[in-house]
Amino acid sequence: MKIPLFPEQASTFAPDVDHLYFYLVAVSVFFTILIFASIFFLAIKYRKRAGNDGVPKAVHTGIALEIVWSVIPFGLSMVMFGWGAEIFFRESRPPQNALSIYVVAKQWMWKLEHMEGQREINELHIPVGRPIRLTMTSEDVIHSFYVPAFRTKQDVVPGRYSTTWFTPTQTGKYHLFCAEYCGTKHSGMTGWVYVLSPEDYQDWLSGGKKTGTLAERGEKLFNDLACSNCHKPDNSGRCPTLVNVFGSNVKLVGGTTAKADEAYIRESILRPDAKVVFGYQPLMPTFQGQVTEEDVLELVEYVKSLTPKPLAPAPAADNKAQASNR
């Protein structure tokens, strides 16, 4: 029987996290051995000898010694802090050219939506070598999106968007877990991430049933919900136009500004009078209860599509981390 000791590395983060892990293991083993060995050595060397009831002489505290064994561990731990923080910072900043995928978690399944319109449940197909950015929310309780092989985990919280990203480096099939306890079938809220070669990914994208891209579905909703009656492209309606809004800084009533990101658009749909655009009245009704989280995501994607992309997404082919089949 084989005892597994180490998880596979399948994202660009995995080796980074593992290097830090090895550093920590080394430090830990060193101190564990140091402490265990000193205890063994001292306990045996200075064991109570038969017939000796005398009291050993007290050894007085050496301030220098105390300082030494405070400062050295502090120095070592600062390395851990800095190193870990650096990795975390990178994990927190998805690159501009990342492939965007949306995740809606609910008790007890993962729903994943691709820009091209594919929907998946408990399965995620992604191309190797491209940064993937997940924008996630939950319909009920807190879940957590966890792919051990990518060393990445992010809680999925109801009522807000959270973000994570990774670049897979190896094709294959990897565990997807829910890592935040979410109720009865928590341990059943698992799935698979399939990392495909770019060609296989293209095949996968072109196969299967489609109901239009995410933005197209969003546009349909936008018209069905009569949003288009007020939000007109040429700014002639009672409400601000949504063209070129995404990514800009919006001036609000009260003099503040807000960055129009996914969270802002979501909030504007569900809690319209939280942030009212300067020069407009808080007329918009709330759509809370009328739209699902998935609908909101489609609408967000539509609004995003109204702002032309500044950069063309990097083609997958020029990435070094090409399919290394296993």
């Binding site: 064991r47 561990p73 502090f74 009865t184």
Partner: protein, 541 residues
């Protein structure tokens, strides 16, 4: 040991009899024994849940119990062990019994409040037991919203009430200790002559008084959210579930120090006694207890690194978490250094103390892993974290509790425990513990999430190893229970100071008389002054 005296001196156990004399007692020693009986019961209930969990995890399919039952098992295991066993364990039993004696007082400052604390713990425990028998609770001991407030279909309200009431028990104990240590020290017993056990309990009490009310109010909000639907953490109303986590961990991280600080206090006493030397760096060990109590309050956000807490808050909390590691490291180094040039004997309590240092070192070092932002993203909410906190709370707190229990057993009962059996069980606990929890570090880094009822088959080997270890551990825990009860009646008489230890508690009879001391002692020496002890012994004997 001395030959049995024909007439035993009247002591706190024999000065009155009957159930009423126990249930209405104001004697801190009797209350300590009441606590001991209570928490032993809770420990074995919690342990039974743990056993079921480990047996269930033998196979990956989840075929022993349903997922509903499994969720209730780990929730009730956590609640029982943390709120009803670990938090009261050392302070309410050993602390209660020993603090007045160590500072040369006749009782705690508020004996009635002390008794009230015990009743509150019992009432809280009964609520929790009721919830358990009625169908259990399945929120996890962390009660994360909105699952606990809106979605869980179990006995959250009764359990929350139980924890709320038990929280007040903890607050009142802390309050009692603080006032006692401030006001009732014997003449000559200055702050820096206090035993380190007392220092550790002082630091613990500060945490209890400052932290527990925040837990109480948080639990109260969860409670009112379920009962009155007021919805403070409800995301549907624009509420913030992460705010709950902030409030919860503001208490629950320091709560770890409520469990471990008294354990450190016990270990300081043991190491000193069996090396026959004062603790190396007394001031640093005492100061590090206070430092841990203070810094312990500043690090709670390290439970929230992936919770959508802001990155900047994550940086601050990660940094401070490393800061709190330093005082713990200081303690370990000072204990080790105390052995240097000592005269070390290997009685059972010392074996437990060595076990504690070993397990606490591993637990503490793995704490550095989870405090590091980059690694925590991978290992949080996995078995790595489970293993880490069991190393601290079971490996640390329970090893120290058992060590302290053996050490002061002759003081409490007047009898010695059987040394051979006790050494054997100390060894079994140490091996069983490592067997149970070491594989879980590997499981965690492999990515096995915690609170999973079914799991992928490749993890099975390590789970089986862990369960094997757990069965050894269970034997190690049952053994002391049996032989300690046996020794209460049949053990050899111990005499006032069987270990030649310093400390005022050893200057009175075993078991002590009702008011601890026939003449209130006056302290003229520093703590752990063994040469003074030999002088006295020679002059008496």
């Amino acid at each position: 040991m001395t030959t049995p005296v024909a007439q035993e001196q009247e002591n706190y156990l024999t000065n009155s009899y009957g159930l009423k004399s126990w249930l209405l007692t104001k004697d801190h020693k009797r209350i300590a024994l009441l606590y001991m009986a209570t928490i032993t019961l809770f420990f074995f209930i919690g342990g039974a849940f743990a056993t079921l969990i480990r047996v269930e995890l033998l196979t990956p399919q989840g075929d022993l119990v349903s997922s509903d039952i499994y969720n209730r098992l780990f929730t009730m295991h956590g609640i029982m062990m943390i709120f009803f066993f670990l938090i009261p364990s050392i302070p309410a039993t050993l602390g209660n019994f020993l603090i007045p004696m160590m500072i040369g007082a006749r009782d705690l400052a508020f004996p009635r409040i002390n008794l009230l604390s015990w009743y509150l713990l019992v009432v809280g425990g009964l609520f929790a037991l009721f919830a358990m028998l009625a169908g259990g609770v399945d929120t996890g001991w962390t009660f994360y919203t909105p699952y606990s407030t809106t979605y869980s279909n179990s006995w959250v309200i009764a359990t929350a009430l139980g924890i709320f009431v038990a929280g007040f028990s903890s607050i009142l104990t802390g309050l009692n200790f603080i006032v006692t240590i401030h006001r009732m020290r014997a003449p000559g017993l200055t702050w820096f002559r206090l035993p380190l056990f007392v220092w550790a309990h002082y630091a613990t009490s500060v945490i209890q008084v400052l932290g527990t009310p925040v837990l109480a109010v948080t639990i109260l909000l969860v409670f009112s959210e379920r009962v009155f639907h007021i919805g403070i953490f409800d995301p549907a109303l624009g509420g913030d579930p992460v705010l709950f986590q902030h409030l919860f961990w503001f208490y629950s991280h320091p709560a770890v120090y409520i469990m471990i600080l008294p354990a450190m206090g016990v270990i300081s006493e043991l190491i000193s006694t069996f090396s026959r030397k004062p603790i190396f760096g007394y001031h640093f060990v005492a100061g590090s207890s206070m430092a841990i109590a203070v810094f312990g309050f500043l690090v709670w956000g390290h439970h929230l690194f992936v919770s959508t807490q802001s990155v900047y808050a994550g940086l601050v909390f990660s940094f401070l978490s490393y800061a709190v590691a330093i005082p713990s490291a200081i303690k370990v180094f000072n204990w080790t250094a105390t052995l240097y040039k000592g005269s070390i004997s290997f009685e059972t309590p010392m074996l437990y103390a060595f076990g504690f240092i070993g397990l606490f070192t591993i637990g503490g070092l793995t704490g550095l892993f989870v405090a590091s932002l980059g690694i925590d993203v991978h290992v949080t909410d996995t078995y790595f974290v489970v293993a880490h906190f069991h190393y601290i709370m079971v490996g640390g707190a329970i090893m120290a509790f058992l060590g302290g229990l053996h050490f002061w057993w002759p003081k409490i009962t007047g009898r010695m425990y059987p040394e051979g059996w006790a050494k054997l069980s100390a060894g079994i606990v140490f091996l069983g513990f490592n067997g149970t929890f070491f594989p879980q570090f590997i499981l965690g880094y492999l990515g096995m999430p915690r609170r999973y009822h079914v799991y992928p088959a490749e993890f099975q080997v390590l789970h089986v190893m862990s369960t094997l270890g757990a069965s050894v551990l269970a034997v190690g825990y049952v053994m002391p229970m049996v032989y300690l009860v046996w020794s209460w009646k049949y053990g050899p008489l111990a005499g006032p100071n069987p270990y030649q230890a310093t400390g005022l508690e050893w200057k009175t009879a075993s078991p002590p008389p009702l008011h601890n001391f026939d003449h209130l002692p006056v302290v003229t020496h520093e703590a752990y002054d063994y040469s003074a002890l030999t002088e006295e012994v020679t002059s008496v004997g």
